[in-house]
């Protein structure tokens, strides 16, 4: 696998920054890297986002069947350590995560304190597909009027996110990554509701 630690992570960061400041915007995180050899245990996009965000100063937690192997991969490349859920700065929820564990993730993830709301977890969630087909309507900072998106995944996260984010500025920020390496972000400020049927 060819991977440029300096420029690939810079580009990935700018994609994440663009999407985090414009919730509902979907951009490809690994578009230039279609030639990247597949990793054994995880998608390249997930790997790239971990390379971009993790280092020895932060801890991560992975939920999913292959969590141990992926954890070793992340740790080997970033020197970041796998930690317990309540201490993790970055929580990765893989596509095959059990519903009960997804619930736990939102329940236990750090929400920050009123003094230090930035000491909260970012949840990176693998999904089947992200698209602009109207399913959810988003509103909040970064969105001119409203944005419509469709997130194909276990819908459990929506209620759990709402509970985790009920006391702004406390809460969790989310990054979604789909099978085609598309990325979308939901910072804690974004309000979600079901699209009205027209």
């Amino acid at each position: 696998m060819l991977f440029d630690k300096v420029h690939d992570t810079q580009e990935a960061f700018r994609t994440i920054l663009h999407c985090m400041s414009r919730p509902g915007t979907i951009q490809n995180i690994a578009s230039e890297r279609n030639d990247a050899e597949p990793l054994e245990h995880c998608d390249y996009a997930l790997f790239l986002s971990a390379m971009t965000l993790l280092d020895a100063e932060v801890g991560f937690h992975i939920i999913g069947s292959n969590s141990e192997r992926i954890g070793e991969l992340f740790a080997a490349h970033t020197l970041s350590k796998a930690t317990d859920l309540p201490k993790a700065d970055y929580v990765f929820i893989l596509q095959d995560a059990q519903p009960q564990l997804i619930r736990e993730a939102f329940l236990q993830a750090k929400k920050g304190t009123l003094r230090d709301p930035q000491q909260s977890a970012t949840i990176i969630m693998e999904t089947e597909m992200l698209s602009k087909i109207p399913q959810l309507t988003l509103q909040g900072p970064g969105i001119a009027t409203t944005e419509n998106v469709h997130i194909t995944a276990n819908e459990l996260w929506r209620d759990e996110r709402a509970t985790a984010n009920q006391e702004y500025p406390l809460g969790v920020d989310m990054i979604f990554i789909d099978r085609q390496s598309n990325l979308m972000c939901l910072p804690r400020t974004t309000m979600l509701k079901e699209c009205e049927v027209s």
């Binding site: 992570t9 700018r14 414009r22 009123l114």
Partner: protein
């Protein structure tokens, strides 16, 4: 043996830490995220906060513009541009519309920013409550409790003393109806450009070790009372003596010989672009006349 600096000067660990702080800042609009400000090859107070953000976000494809008090060619702006160019090889420009990253001190350009641009502002004092509360421990608590009486009282005192709010620059704003924020020492004229801005605005304070942000399309309201509404600097009936522009932020100058007061655009690249445009129109007109 030839030694070259690492891309964008910083080691990758420093960039990551600053990038993580930036993402949190975007997620909590107006909240000052602490970060481990690095030693820079320029002195603190000369834009190290802005420079650290610029170096952490910049990539090979970017085009950089740096302005200092509206000018592209002042010492500070030129040196920052040179430093970034030498360590990254990215192009620099004075044309606002061509830039993807605009680092600035004290101004937001006259030309409207777009969705593809990131505005990076250098901040000397990021804490809007610092003038009323010297303790960082206490101001953090005040922000936590959304207790902003101090900021209001400061404006009230100015009204009592001068009959109006007397903030020259850095007039405090309320972001997303939650955090009171120092917009950096931009004139009040520029405060309104932050409201529902199309571009992402990142603010960095190197000495005070804080990064904060205003995401695009976010409500930014300048603090004001109902009976003393927010007012921007007025340039009514004034125009730039170079390009004749009106309704822009202008510098007041005095002719040493006649003692006469005259005005000129503070945004030098805007003024230059207008002059060039007028020149071209004139040439076309002359061509037609022939």
């Amino acid at each position: 043996m030839q030694h070259t600096t690492h891309f964008a000067l910083f080691d990758e660990g420093s960039k990551k830490e600053i990038r993580r702080a930036i993402l949190k800042a975007v997620a909590i609009p107006g909240y000052q995220v602490p970060f481990a400000s690095r030693e820079m090859p320029i002195a603190r107070g000369w834009g190290t906060g802005g420079l650290q953000i610029t170096l952490s976000i910049i990539g090979k494809q970017d085009v950089l513009k740096v302005i200092d008090q509206g000018a592209d060619e002042s010492v500070n702006a030129v040196n920052i541009k040179k430093l970034v160019n030498k360590t990254t090889g990215v192009e620099t420009t004075i044309e606002t519309s061509e830039a993807t990253i605009i680092q600035s001190r004290h101004r937001i350009p006259e030309v409207s920013l777009t969705e593809k641009q990131i505005m990076v502002l250098q901040v000397p004092i990021p804490e809007p409550l610092r003038w009323v509360e010297p303790s960082e421990f206490k101001t953090k608590k005040l922000h936590a409790e959304k207790e902003y009486s101090g900021a209001w009282l400061q404006l009230f005192e100015q009204i009592m003393k001068y009959g109006k709010t007397a903030t020259n620059a850095d007039h405090p704003v309320l972001v997303h109806d939650r955090y009171v924020m120092a917009p950096s020492p931009i004139p009040r004229f520029d405060n309104q450009k932050m409201h529902q801005s199309e571009a992402l605005i990142l603010l960095g304070a190197g000495r005070e070790k804080k990064i904060y942000a205003v995401p695009p399309y976010t409500d930014v309201a300048s603090l004001a009372f109902e009976d003393y509404p927010f007012e921007v600097e007025s340039f009514d009936e004034k125009h730039c003596h170079h390009c004749q522009a009106t309704n822009v932020f202008m510098d007041e100058l005095v002719d040493q010989e006649t003692g006469e007061t005259y005005y000129q655009c503070n945004d030098t690249s805007y003024c230059l672009a207008r002059l060039n445009e007028q020149e071209t129109l004139l040439e076309v007109a002359v061509e037609h006349a022939r």
